[in-house]
Symmetry: C2
Subunit: 384 residues, 2 copies
Amino acid sequence: MSSQPPHPALLIPGPIEFDDAVLNAMSHYSESHVGGPFVKCFGETLSMLRQLFQSTDPAAQPFVISGSGTLGWDQVAANLAEPGDDVLVLHTGYFADSFADCFDTYGVKPTQLKAPIGDRPQLDEIEKALKEKEYKIITVTHVDTSTGVLSEIKGLSEMVHRVSPNTLVVVDGVCSVGCEEIRFDDWGIDVVLTASQKAIGCPAGLSIVMASGRAIERFKSRKTKPASYFGSWKNWLPIMQNYEAKKPSYFATPSPQLIHALHTSLTQILSKPLSARFARHKEVSQHIKSAVSALGLKQLASKPENQANGMTAIYLPEGIQAPQILPNLLQKGVIFAGGLHKEIATKYVRFGHMGVSVMDENRDDVKRALEALREGLGEAGYKA
Amino acid sequence: MSSQPPHPALLIPGPIEFDDAVLNAMSHYSESHVGGPFVKCFGETLSMLRQLFQSTDPAAQPFVISGSGTLGWDQVAANLAEPGDDVLVLHTGYFADSFADCFDTYGVKPTQLKAPIGDRPQLDEIEKALKEKEYKIITVTHVDTSTGVLSEIKGLSEMVHRVSPNTLVVVDGVCSVGCEEIRFDDWGIDVVLTASQKAIGCPAGLSIVMASGRAIERFKSRKTKPASYFGSWKNWLPIMQNYEAKKPSYFATPSPQLIHALHTSLTQILSKPLSARFARHKEVSQHIKSAVSALGLKQLASKPENQANGMTAIYLPEGIQAPQILPNLLQKGVIFAGGLHKEIATKYVRFGHMGVSVMDENRDDVKRALEALREGLGEAGYKA
């Protein structure tokens, strides 16, 4: 087990810093994708994902496929909607536009419900929209990586089930799974899609999707063929079921090294109560948000209830732009991300605080980041 | 740099054994996917792929996307054909059926030209088929991993250009790139699609595609939107061009660790003349095929000109089945693959001899595998 060489702390909203044991699992010696040891590892990984989603419903189904978070959109659009179907896309930033584009690619008709930058669509607006048309799916970005806006899933899902019970509730959890609470069964969620490289703490390269029994039934009753081949659940469903039953199975070659790394990160996450993990992310997030306020800076997510617990999107002071401050922070050993929301991209920075940087008591990433931010702004002429 | 712990030699037709340096690159510390160091690594990787394909045409375009070899089929079907188009699929085993299914998913009409098991469609048959209908694409599996049948690309491509000049020549090189000669520009190939985990020698998780300038033009002139979102070249083309120009760019998060590993394996491959690499694979393959014959065993690929140089598919003696011999070989520290061609799956085994097991003079994988095969068959009651 070698530890990592000195390097700047990666504090963007994904990829995040990874634990040594996870990175060591990435260099696992080569194994057959259909051999006993790897099949066991993959099967256990799928079972651990059920625990991560706090799901005990055997009809629910986890999928892990080589790809990225984006592939989860294709899986939803190509398996759970059919050409001509209407879907409602709640917009809290950059990623809803892309998800809508993905639906459109597969002949599905997205209607976007937009909120002002830093806010989220309100329940009464959403309820009104759901009553106007029959939507097969509603999608919500749990944490919008472009703005740091958190959506509230439990109440949203309850309302959708009450007002439009045939509408599947799809959560884009790319920037939330592993740092925000998600009770998949209890909240009546139909799909959570995510990726490996954020709060799950495993290098990028995996699309991770959890589907409810209801979503699987919807898929099975579709009248047209799935609209994607690589992302088709017709191809992947038996493979995932076989792996979890420890039976070798083949559609396309998975990445044994990435699955070993995911196995390692999930084992670490599940070794402690999930509630403590979410509470710790919240605690550190509030500490960061207080420090940002103390610096006289504002967040894109203006209301406290809209603020993500795994990242903070921070408006820079007037006259200081992201391309100016980010290289200075890098000099101080800290990597933040620039803005992603087109209209205001240079006016803000994004600080990711997920996974080991928050959970590992031996790390001082967050402390160093806040110091670097304060110093960097001072060097740019800003006085709090 | 830690070396790998003792483990059975993985001699299946992919994933293959990996070099220590490649596996160590898999555990690279976390980097931003849009930060300078990673952008440089990705850009150099794309440029090295051009060299691997012996291509100097600046209009040609390499793509590296998180996924598997299968995603390359989606890229071809969703970007280079439009619904209703006819395509000709040359069939040498399992993989042509799947590629045809992929085309069908995107509304493209595949016509399969089949050969008997162990053989490949002949040039005169293919020429006849091309004259009967206007095919937008012809696909050929360079090495069919299910049968070990090698197709001849140079003569095929020449004939296609002569007989049907508007037909794009698409090569499935999943089991050939890195161990069989491919002169992309000289042979007039339009697409080679492959994966990382075979003769390229990098862990699974990457779809690698090389497209000609003509293919890119065909893509740009399509009348309909690309039929996949995650596999859309509209989304990926600017990203790949930016990475190679060392400019940060984002569509979906790549896997920095896998790209570092690919960078390492390509650097190793290109450190010696490619001609020597292909010659060495041929030499070792002929040694293996002679040893197999000396054991009184036959190959699925019956004619010498049909035989792949990176794998051998071997019929077992009458009365011995794959599920019987494979566990015995594993006991002796060697992993072969079972059959994949449905009709005869238990009657043969597949021996992969690609990458470091062939090129690294310090390894005795091939020697041990041939000894294990001889002993294993003897213990099962077979006498050569």
